[in-house]
C-alpha cells in the first residue's frame, strides 16, 4: 500500500527514469551472461586433401559434418553437391566424419570412405554410400558390400580392406567424431558455411544458396 500511495506522489518522469535504469541493467546482465557462455567453434583445417573438393583458394569453405548411415545426410548430399556445382570457383567443400553411435555400420562406412580416399575416390565412394544406404545399413555384415562398392568404382579390393581395417584409419574416424563433439556440432548433417551453421538438409535447401551469395557479396 505504501508503494501505491507513493506512486501518487512520484512524478511519471522519476518513475520512467528508475524503470529505464533497472531495465538497462537487467538487459545488460542477460547479454553479458550469454556472451560469456557462448562457445565459438575453433575450426581446424586438418581434413586430408582427398576430403576436400574444389579450389583451395576458394573464398568460401563449406564444412559438412555427416554420417553415411543417416537418412537426412543422404537427402542433403545431392543438394550440397548442386550448391558446389553452381559455385565451383567460389566454394570448397570439406567433409568431416560424425558417425552416430546408434547407427550400427556408420563407423565402418566412415572407415571405408577413408580407405577409398586413400585410393583417390573419396567423393565417388561417398556418393555411392548415400545412394545404396538402405542396402548396406540393414545388412547383417556390411563389410563385403562396402568392398563390392569399392571394386565397382575401380578400387583395389584387398588394399581397400586392409586400409579400412587399419588402426590408423580407425583413429582418424574416432578423432574426427571427438572433434565434432568438442566443437558442439549438434546433429547430422550440419553444414558450416564459413562460421554460419545450418542443421539438417531442409535448412541447407532453404538457406545454403542465400548464405553463399551473402558471403560472396561481403
Amino acid at each position: 500500500m505504501v508503494g501505491v500511495k507513493f506512486l501518487e506522489k512520484m512524478t511519471p518522469h522519476t518513475l520512467l527514469k528508475r524503470r529505464l535504469s533497472v531495465g538497462t541493467l537487467l538487459v545488460s546482465l542477460a547479454i553479458s551472461a550469454v556472451a560469456l557462455g557462448r562457445r565459438v567453434p575453433v575450426l581446424s583445417s586438418d581434413a586430408p586433401p582427398y576430403r576436400r573438393l574444389g579450389m583451395a583458394s576458394a573464398p568460401i569453405t563449406i564444412r559438412e559434418y555427416s554420417d553415411f548411415q543417416c537418412p537426412r545426410c543422404a537427402d542433403g548430399h545431392p543438394d550440397l553437391q548442386a550448391l558446389y556445382a553452381r559455385h565451383p570457383k567460389d566454394v570448397q567443400l570439406v567433409f568431416h566424419h560424425m558417425p552416430l553411435r546408434q547407427h550400427k555400420w556408420a563407423v565402418w562406412a566412415a572407415r571405408a570412405s577413408e580407405a577409398a580416399g586413400r585410393q583417390g575416390k573419396f567423393w565417388e565412394f561417398a556418393a555411392r554410400l548415400y545412394e545404396t544406404q538402405k542396402e548396406w545399413s540393414t545388412a547383417e555384415d556390411a563389410k563385403p558390400l562396402l568392398k563390392a562398392y569399392a571394386e565397382s568404382l575401380g578400387l583395389k579390393g584387398d588394399l581397400f580392406m586392409k586400409d579400412m581395417e587399419s588402426p590408423a584409419v580407425e583413429k582418424i574416424v574416432t578423432d574426427e567424431r571427438t572433434r565434432a563433439d568438442a566443437l558442439g556440432i549438434p546433429a547430422t548433417p550440419t553444414f558450416l558455411i564459413k562460421d554460419r551453421m545450418l542443421v539438417g538438409d531442409t535448412q541447407l535447401k532453404a538457406f545454403g544458396e542465400r548464405f553463399v551469395l551473402e558471403e560472396l557479396n561481403k
Binding site: M1, V4, R18, A30, V34, G37, M197, F207
Partner: protein, 156 residues
Amino acid sequence: MNERLRSCWSWGAVFLRWAPGSVLMVSGYLKAVRPAAELAAVLESYWIFPMAFIRPLAHVLPWVELLVGLFLVTGFFTRTSALVSAGLFASFVAALAQSLYRHLPLNECGCFGRLGPPLTPRQSLTMDAVLLVVSLLLILNRNPRCSLDRWITSPS
C-alpha cells in the same frame, strides 16, 4: 481472515513467480548460448512454421524467454512479464499437443536446447501446462512482494 489469506497469497506469489521465471531463464539461456541453427532444427521438427519464419524465430525466442524469465524472477514489469510468460507457455503447450496428436517422431522436446535435461514431449507438455496456469495466476498479483517493481515505486 481475509487479510491473512491475502498475505499468504502475496508471499506464495513470490515463490510462484520464481517457478516460470527460472524455467524460462534457464531454457532461454541454454538456447541463447548455442547457434540459432540448432534451435531452428528443433523448431523445424514440429512441422508448424514455414522455413522462412523458423530462422528469425530461432534468433528471437531464446532472448524473449531469457528476458521474460529474468524479469519474472526479479519482479520487474511483473504483470506484463506474467502475461508474456502465459503466452509463451500457451504456445509451447499448443506446439507439443499438436506434435503428440500428429504422432511426430520427437524423442525429446528440445525445450532446453542441447545442453539441458532431455524431456519427452509428454513430460514437457505437463510442465508447460502447470506453468501456464501459474503465469495466469500471477497476472492477478498487483504490487508483488520481493520485486523490483515494489522497490522502484517505493520512497528512496
